[in-house]
């Protein structure tokens, strides 16, 4: 379970996040939705502990991310939005490195890496150096390195950004699979249909605040419109000063 409690973050006096609170529960997929510049990435970065909030708390399975960072991180798998890879390592070596950093033994990593390589359909690229990988191949490697240590909580920052249909499907399948394993999945996106399809719960942020949260039906009810996209636009624009 991932809990954001009254998170506040300022950059040089500008409020980027102004008191965001929500829960992502185990066995559920929670979507963080918002336009560019709404504070999505800042919120995500506070959740995985690379930005320190000016106020508020982040709890990962009840462990405080700010005061107990390393313990909290062991329970968390993260896929950042930049998909950077070490170009001279093979995909498998990549996955290994991150597993070992999580304190797994060589044998544990090998077994788990094979599992993930199969799950993500990356048998053909596993032993190639990552230099020149396509966006889809990069995403798979990042996804595998995020899941290598069997985390109970997973944060995916715009995982389907720039992917073709095939890879998007694989990512979606993996997310569903994680859900059946009773894992907490939080992912951010600005693609409406994807969020509607995958998420049990949607948190919409705009101007650094949560403007609505709930199931797709509840969101539509709050905005009093029938279409989710219309609801999103309406809710987001409410808080943007004219």
């Amino acid at each position: 379970m991932i809990e954001a409690q009254q998170l506040v973050k300022q950059f040089k006096g500008v409020d980027a996040v102004k008191g965001i609170s929500f829960n992502a529960d185990a066995g559920e997929v929670t979507g963080l939705l918002g336009p560019n510049g709404a504070g999505k990435s800042t919120t995500m970065r506070m959740l995985y502990g690379l930005l320190a909030p000016n106020a508020g708390r982040v709890l990962i399975d009840g462990i405080n991310m700010v005061t107990d960072t390393r313990l909290a991180r062991t329970r968390l798998g993260v896929m950042t939005d930049n998909h950077g890879l070490y170009s001279r390592l093979t995909a498998r070596e990549h996955i290994h490195y991150f597993g070992r950093l999580h304190g797994m033994t060589n044998d544990q990593v090998e077994v788990r890496a094979d599992e993930l390589i199969r799950l993500l359909g990356m048998m053909n690229i596993a032993d190639r150096r990552t230099h020149g990988f396509s966006q889809g191949e990069k995403t798979k490697v990042c996804m595998a390195q995020c899941l290598i240590h069997n985390p109970a909580n997973v944060i995916l920052d715009e995982p389907t950004n720039g992917l073709d249909v095939m890879t998007t499907r694989i990512v979606r399948d993996v997310v569903r699979e994680l859900k059946t394993l009773d894992i907490t999945v939080l992912f951010s996106s600005h693609m409406m249909h994807e969020v509607a399809r995958l998420c049990d719960k949607i948190v919409i942020v705009s101007m650094g605040e949560v403007v609505a949260q709930g199931t797709t039906e509840e969101i539509k009810a709050i905005a009093a419109v029938d279409d989710l996209e219309d609801a999103f636009v309406k809710l987001v624009e409410q808080v943007i000063p004219k």
Binding site: L51, T80, R88, L89
Partner: protein, 387 residues
């Protein structure tokens, strides 16, 4: 220390696969010794007194006695014609001697005769020949002058008021070491160049590739990450530096220093001593480069900062070359100066106080730890993680 080992293993493997890093780690150590050999051999060649010199001469018939005397001293002559200045400035001749027609008549009248040497002093290779010819003619001058005085019943000593007698206190090994003072500078340079590729790649490169964020999300202390990267880079630096040192020493055993009347011999024990003396520099070089590297957003960016850094370790070497100073104990504790002093002393075969071996690595390692700690602090800074 588990995570430290994991980071080290990854960076080391990554570094070995990095052609840019490996090349920069190897090229200098492989080239420097040959440069040393070439420079010193050329220097010896130029200074060598026994070299046969062929001299172009115009009007040799005007002074047959002088020419015969010079031939006896080892010069060979070739007759030359035409514009002597043009011959020299077009580099067809190193120098041309012109003996005027009135040489013989002035000689007979016991008046001063003139011999013209046409040369180009901007040509380094001709300098040795010119000064050899000049000193030989000077010798001929004194010999004939002495004979003239004797025939007039005067002792030639009348002409010699003061004579300088040289007494050398430096040992031949020490003179050779002074002559070879650029070797320590090369070794220091090697330490800075060999580890640079990987030190920069694991800091600035990590930011450039956008892998930094993923790395820091792991439940591992920043200091362990920095230490792993640092030691991996240092291994490269140590290898490059040791190669330079050992190859330089090996090459030096083939340089004919004895032609200058100098002796240069290092025992294997001395080589080990030199390695120990310079080892801390490898650690210092990479920790400095990582600290600078983490400020840079890309590899290229970092290289321009680090270019300036390379000059820093050369300062003590350059300073002591131009301002020789007496070594005092506290100097061993000054990072870089201490290593330079140890290195030159061991190479020159001088006794180094034992405390020097302790002071110099301790002060450097303390400095390294400060740098690494600062780097680890910067790893936490938001403006560096997210660029």
């Amino acid at each position: 220390m588990m995570a430290f080992k994991v980071v080290f293993a990854k960076e080391f493997r990554d570094g070995l696969r990095d052609r840019r890093a490996v090349l920069s780690a190897l090229i200098f150590p492989l080239l420097a010794p040959f440069l040393v050999y070439f420079l010193i051999s050329t220097m010896i060649d130029l200074r060598s007194q026994d070299k046969e010199i062929e001299v172009a001469v115009q009007g040799a018939d005007n002074a047959p006695h002088l020419i015969a005397w010079l031939v006896e001293k080892g010069l060979t002559f070739s007759p030359s014609e035409g514009d002597a200045r043009a011959l020299v400035s077009s580099q067809q001749q190193e120098l041309v001697i012109i003996i005027p027609e009135n040489y013989g008549s002035r000689l007979a009248a016991a008046r001063t005769s003139y011999v013209e040497i046409v040369s180009d002093s901007s040509r380094t290779d001709a300098r040795a020949a010119v000064s050899r010819v000049r000193s030989l003619i000077g010798g001929y001058n004194s010999e004939v002058a002495a004979l003239r005085l004797i025939t007039r019943g005067v002792s030639p000593q009348v002409m010699s008021v003061v004579k300088v007698v040289d007494t050398e206190v430096a040992s031949k090994q020490e003179i050779a070491t002074a002559l070879l003072s650029f070797i320590p500078i090369y070794i220091v340079l090697a330490a800075f160049i060999s580890g640079m590729g990987i030190a920069v790649d694991s800091t600035a490169g990590e930011r450039e590739r956008r892998t930094f964020e993923s790395l820091l999300i792991n439940p591992v202390s920043r200091l362990q990450i920095v230490l792993g990267k640092w030691i991996a880079a240092t291994v490269f630096s140590v290898v490059g530096m040791s190669m330079t040192l050992v190859l330089c020493m090996w090459v030096m055993s083939y340089v004919p220093l004895e032609e200058l009347g100098l002796r240069f011999q290092v025992s294997p024990l001395q080589v080990v001593g030199m390695l120990l003396a310079t080892l801390p520099l490898a650690f210092l070089a990479t920790s400095m480069q990582m600290l600078v590297g983490i400020f840079a957003k890309s590899f290229k960016d970092a290289q321009s900062y680090i270019g300036v850094l390379v000059l820093l370790p050369m300062l003590p070497g350059l300073y002591t070359t131009f301002n020789p100073i007496g070594t005092e104990t506290w100097m061993y504790a000054v990072p870089m100066l201490g290593q330079h002093l140890l290195l030159t002393d061991v190479m020159g075969g001088e006794d180094v106080p034992l405390i020097g071996y302790f002071l110099s690595p301790i002060s450097v390692l303390l400095l390294c730890l400060v740098f690494s700690w600062l780097t680890a602090k910067l790893f936490e800074r938001e403006s560096i993680i997210f660029t």
